[in-house]
């Protein structure tokens, strides 16, 4: 799977890793701006920041009262040269924004399930895409793995017809995928 991985972007830092990739993925509907990895004892803390803007298409959807949910996914992969890579651990975190048109409030639910209301759209989006902190336990058993992290639009929370319209790919929104070699941390 090395071949596939080589076609994606890598970010390597020994202890602390920060990268700005917003320029490279400016054209994406949703993109990961930067991630920061910190090792604390046997834990890894991932701090992810998305691009602070959402595409007009998503904004339009949001303003019409359709909830927009994102799925932050992480996978820790054990690489195999001649066979499929083995997924050691995987997790997903959902966060969403919804506009209540009657009361003119933007409701944001973060990855931990905390709900917060905003009267201003900009503030709501900022809060939505702001830093997200994820903790991975048991670093010791995961240190020889590759971290794969990306964000995608959760189609399952969109209207049913959009979900089942297999011919319409415009809603298959996914961010850039970040790979990181955990052994270098």
């Amino acid at each position: 799977m090395l071949f596939f991985r080589k076609n994606n972007l890598y970010f390597f830092l020994i202890f602390s890793f920060i990268a700005n990739i917003s320029i490279a993925f400016a054209k994406l509907d949703v993109s990961i701006k930067q991630i920061k990895l910190e090792k604390a004892q046997d834990k890894i803390v991932i701090n992810l920041e998305q691009s602070s803007v959402l595409s007009p298409k998503i904004i339009e959807l949001l303003e019409r009262g359709i909830p927009i949910a994102f799925n932050l996914k992480i996978k820790l992969i054990k690489e195999n040269k001649f066979w499929f890579d083995k997924v050691i651990k995987q997790d997903s975190f959902i966060y969403q924004i919804k506009y209540h048109s009657l009361i003119k409030i933007f409701e944001v639910i973060d990855i931990h399930g905390n709900k917060k209301n905003f009267e201003e759209k900009k503030e709501a989006i900022k809060f939505l895409l702001d830093n997200k902190e994820i903790t991975i336990d048991n670093y010791n058993i995961l240190k020889n793995t590759i971290l794969k992290i990306w964000v995608e639009l959760d189609k399952n929370r969109l209207p049913k017809a959009i979900q089942v319209d297999v011919f319409n790919k415009s809603w298959d929104i996914q961010s850039n995928i970040i790979f990181y070699d955990m052994s270098r941390l």
């Binding site: 959807l61 019409r64 009262g65 359709i66 209540h100 048109s101 009657l102 009361i103 003119k104 409030i105 209301n117 009267e119 189609k155 399952n156 209207p159 049913k160 017809a161 959009i162 979900q163 089942v164 319209d165 297999v166 011919f167 319409n168």
Partner: protein, 715 residues
Amino acid sequence: MKYLITTFAVVGLGFLILLAQSLANTNIVSNDTFIILLVISSSFVLSLFLLIIFQVFKLLQSVRKEITGSKLTLRLVIAFGMMVLIPVSIVYLVSVNFLTKSIESWFDVRVESALEGGLTLGQKTIDILIDDIELKGKSIAYAISNQSYEKRENILIDLREKFSISRAVLYKTDGSISALSQSNPNINSSTLDLEDIQRVKSGYFGRIEETEDKNLILKAFIPVFYNEKIQKTDLTVAEEILVLSQPVPESISNIAISVESVFEEYQQLRYSRNSLKIIYTLTLTIVLMLAILTSVAISFVISRRFTRPLSLLSEATNQIAKGNYKKIIPEIGKDELGTLVRSFNTMTYQLDTATKNSKKNRKRLEDARAFLDATLTNLATAIVVIDKKNKIKLYNKSAANLLGFKASNMVDENLTDAIKDLKKFDAVIRFIDEAQEKNNKTLYSTKEISIGLQNEEKTLILKLSSLLESSGKSYILVLEDISTIAKAQRQIAWGEIARRLAHEIKNPLTPIQLSAERVQNRIVNKLNKTDKDLLNKSTSIIIKQVDALKLMVNEFAEYARSPKIVRKTIDIIELLDEISYLYSDQHFEIKKNYPKNRRSIKIDENKFRQVLINIFDNSKAALKNVKNPKVSITLKFDRNLIRLKFEDNGIGIPKEIIDKIYEPYVTSKKAGTGLGLAIVYKIIEEHSGIIEIKNTKPSGVCIIITLPVEDHKIG
């Protein structure tokens, strides 16, 4: 096939139901499941399509091979297919059109405006309510700020009740509650959020909140600035925050939430419009394909069900035409086709029974004919059936052999043309002509004739009887060879003659011989020399002739003697060697040809010795004055027969007597009695054997003796 189609249809229908369910806004079918269902349904349609293509291909092949019923099946399939295809296609087109238009009609501008208007109305109402609560809040805040700090709670209670506010709380700037008044005492109080405290510092504000149980609550946040001049004591706080809470009236709240909900759903639908059209059209297309293909597949089954009995009938008719009456069609249903099949089976059964009977009768006739043919063929009596023009209609092997037919098949040939040597059978033809001339209705003529055939004279009894047939009058000519019977009769007659001769002649011979000897003894001394010599000579002649007569009489007696053989087991080769040894010093050479394995046989040794001596004597006589005289003896064992062949190169037997050589007194020798071969013949006959004597070329005689023996190997 029908089970396969039913399974396809049922499973396909199940998937279609699931597919339709997936379009509803439920969680029964997920996005991924929908795609799987879509793929499975499409696969089903494709499989069904391939199945039908296969069936059509098979059907067309059957039509090309002109298999019975295939054309009718094809016509029915086309008819059924068209019956389904046209209405279903119309329904499909109408449905798609209707669906598209229906979906479009949901998104009417007026509907959208109305919904937006409703939502705006709700928003405005809420805004008014917020303005109202803010105003009330300002009034309460003003009242509190212009009264002494101690009275703030009483004022709060009074004014809350006066303004019918659900809850009024006075918070300190650190967020803790300073004073509280609420209509429902069960509501727990909480501190004020820091964000709200910061915000209110820049001025009052109002907002609406949605509770967990979906109720709307209006809230107003108003800063309270205490007038220090009015205060009786020094204030530690110069400012507090008044928060009023008032639930939106239920009637307004429900309508507003409902409008919001409908508006959101409408927006969702608006975004799903194209997807909905595509998905519904796709589902309808799959339904259409499944319906059409299932119908076509079912039409195959129905067509085959209709045409099967007809095909079976047609096939059975062909089989009957080919003579196979055992074809029974399985009964199908109780309708008219079932009755037809039953009637056909009954007819076939009757035909089969009639054919079997006919075959039996024919076989019986053929057997009888074969039996008659075999009987006629193996019959020793010659039989020829002729018509009134002497044309042969039927004859047997014996007739062909006896009459010497020119070819193997002489049926339909004239009898005179069929006989090779017509001259010899002139007497037969004459007999037939004479008999036919009588022209009696029930003709029956018989005659005994003798004809010479193959150096042998044959005695035949001719019988001609007429036979009336549908085709005309026929005659049956029977030629019975009675030569053997005649020969036997002659043998018996000769035996009787010999016996009488022996009896009548032998008795006076001894007195004649004794008298002659007495005359010679008594008178010879009384006569002179001349008379004496004459007497001696005369009596000697009498005595010699009497001896000769005695010898002849003894031989006749021997011939006439009744047959009595005494069998004993002997080695035939030993006997042959013994007799040939007796003649080994004669003027002829003896050649022996014996088989390697010796066998003993059961015969009368003495009589067989007599046979061999007679044969050797005859050869000895025949080989006088012959160049390189020789006798060859050949012995062969053949199963239960021995064949003994004597061949010499002597003068042979004259033609005139060869037919009667076994009869007594038939001889070519001057001094022979003619009884030798007659006795040989008799002895061989007594041993149930056959003797055959014939002349050989260029000269000589061949005698073949065949004897049935019970024998066993020697050594």
